[in-house]
Symmetry: C2
Subunit: 339 residues, 2 copies
């Protein structure tokens, strides 16, 4: 592969001049410029980004460590992150943690080794030493969706509290009184928060959230299935299950179907995260929709701000309830998700 030296030789100038042309530095003669450009053309030269990065100490690359690529929510997040980053002149390297702290650390480590300019993380756990060190060492960082409390890093997320209240109002209005939740890992902020929001919303209606109605999941489908089976085995099973993410809702559907039961007659279902398929499931699933694309874009903007020396804002956007039929027939017409 042709290097800058080859171009310099071909154009009959020094490498400095070639570099100046390529970075359009003002003081280059029109003549030299055209000769260099011609040489670049004939050699098919492309600058070596590795060498450039070594010298300038910038990679124009962002790292994105997400909890699970197979989760449509994160997949959409990744897409909007890449889009916004591209618009701002950055590339994105995605690391998939699969909800495993060890994998998360692996990716953070290799991303740092690559000297990415900044890191976007949706932490799988409460904060490994590695991540805490990175934050303290001054690596530009932004948390998306989930965060680690007590770390001085901007957080871009959505607040589901209002939507959860709306959901509980909806469920209560349909006559449901025994409400259960499939929670995410307690080590994650979203895992804890969604349970808390649910509990508070229930309390407003004088309802309790007994321990037996809190199933411990891990944001993956299989755990949703297992927890739901547990609920169905209770002497007094819940009337509604609220899954803290879309994959656990999928698992819940698996469990219900495996027993030959029906949603919502035998068990009603609602989910956090709205995805396109929820419109077409049997029945369509009532869900809480996050402004995913906006989150991704805001996160990139915050991170690039930090990288380029500007402050970097935390952002919290509201989520909203999308009512469908999985909790029972509703007086209002079925709404269509715009995710």
């Amino acid at each position: 592969m042709a290097s800058i030296k080859d171009v310099a030789a071909e154009a009959g100038v020094s490498v400095a001049t070639v570099s100046r042309v390529l970075n359009d530095h003002p003081s280059v003669s029109a003549d030299a410029r055209t000769r260099v450009l011609a040489a670049v053309e004939t050699l098919g030269y492309r600058p070596n980004a590795v060498a450039r990065s070594l010298r300038t100490d910038q990679t124009h690359t962002l790292g994105l460590v997400i909890s699970d690529v197979m989760n449509p929510y994160f997949t959409e997040l990744a897409r909007s992150v890449e889009e916004e980053a591209r618009a701002l002149g950055y590339s994105v390297i995605i690391g998939n943690a699969d909800e495993r702290p060890d994998l998360q650390d692996h990716h953070v480590r290799t991303l740092l080794d690559r000297r990415i300019d900044g890191l976007l993380v949706s932490p799988t756990d409460g904060g490994s030493p590695l991540m805490l060190d990175a934050a303290r060492a001054g690596t530009p960082m932004v948390f998306v969706d989930r965060w680690i409390p007590g770390v001085d890093v901007p957080v871009v997320r959505s607040d589901g509290r209002g939507a959860v209240r709306d959901l509980v109002a909806h469920l209560h209005g349909l006559g449901h009184r025994r409400l259960a939740i499939i929670a995410g890992p307690a080590a994650t902020t979203t895992g804890r928060e969604r349970v808390e929001a649910f509990r508070e919303a229930l309390a407003a209606y004088g309802l309790d959230l007994p321990d037996a109605y809190i199933g411990q999941g891990d944001f993956q489908a299989e755990s949703g299935r297992l927890v739901t089976e547990g609920f169905l085995d209770l002497a007094e099973p819940p009337e509604v299950v609220f899954a803290a993410d879309n994959l656990m809702a999928l698992g819940a559907l698996d469990a219900v179907r495996a027993r030959g039961l029906r949603v919502p007659d035998d068990l009603a279902l609602a989910a956090f995260d709205d995805i396109r398929w929820f419109v077409h499931t049997d029945p369509p699933v009532t869900a809480i929709a996050q402004p995913t694309g906006e989150l991704g874009r805001a996160a990139v903007r915050a991170l690039v701000d930090r990288i380029e020396g500007r402050p970097g804002q935390s952002v919290t956007l509201p989520a909203r309830l999308v009512v469908r039929r999985s909790c029972g027939e509703d007086p209002t017409p079925v709404q269509r998700s715009t995710t």
Copy 2:
């Protein structure tokens, strides 16, 4: 951030010795080794991958350019690719082409600029000059799922021909005679092949595939919706629609639902690519399942073989039909996808 010089100074040896320890070269004394390791520890030193790559001309990184991250098929492919690559000591940088040739070229270009060791591509079009040049220039490359004819690059894909025949047999057995297809872009191999396989399978039953029953889609949901609307507006609409990928099937469901019609009574539906949600849609969707994980792993193995100087095998794996209820009630019991 500490560099190899700092480590050398701390350990009281030269940078050469530090490098030897880090790459466990045999001729280093036990004493020097422990001192270096201690220095590495106290400084929290990590080698700069950028500098290392510049010198060794290897990045231990694979580029993966996929057609659409929002498509669960590609998302699963990406996951298995990353997994296998990690097992073999490589990282993966994913580029999302969103079915747009210009975006695809953008990602190929930046990946080459980064000097990735090899490229895994599922081409969105018939082959841009850039990609052809890259292949000719000797960049280790492997095509996954889709490929570009006439280019000497291993191809890892699945053959749906047999499964399509099974599908047509199933449809014919249910009494359907007017069968339509939502095709993918003619510029892609999978776009063309699936139509051809369908046409051939129909011919075996003496059935025709008229032009009016070939809708031109682009592998995205919206095109599936539009094509399906077109079919429904025909004087003699088809009885069955076969969508050439899962997203266009989603669009077809949107169209059917928007008109207040039912699957399969008003229009039967089948799809290429099986995804988990098809089990829970209304009704569950009959689909052709590819061995996605195996494809991803085989592709990485082929690519790494090429990178490391071994031949690199093309691989073709069979797809299989998974019958559910979206084409009408079937005598056999509902099967469960194991995707």
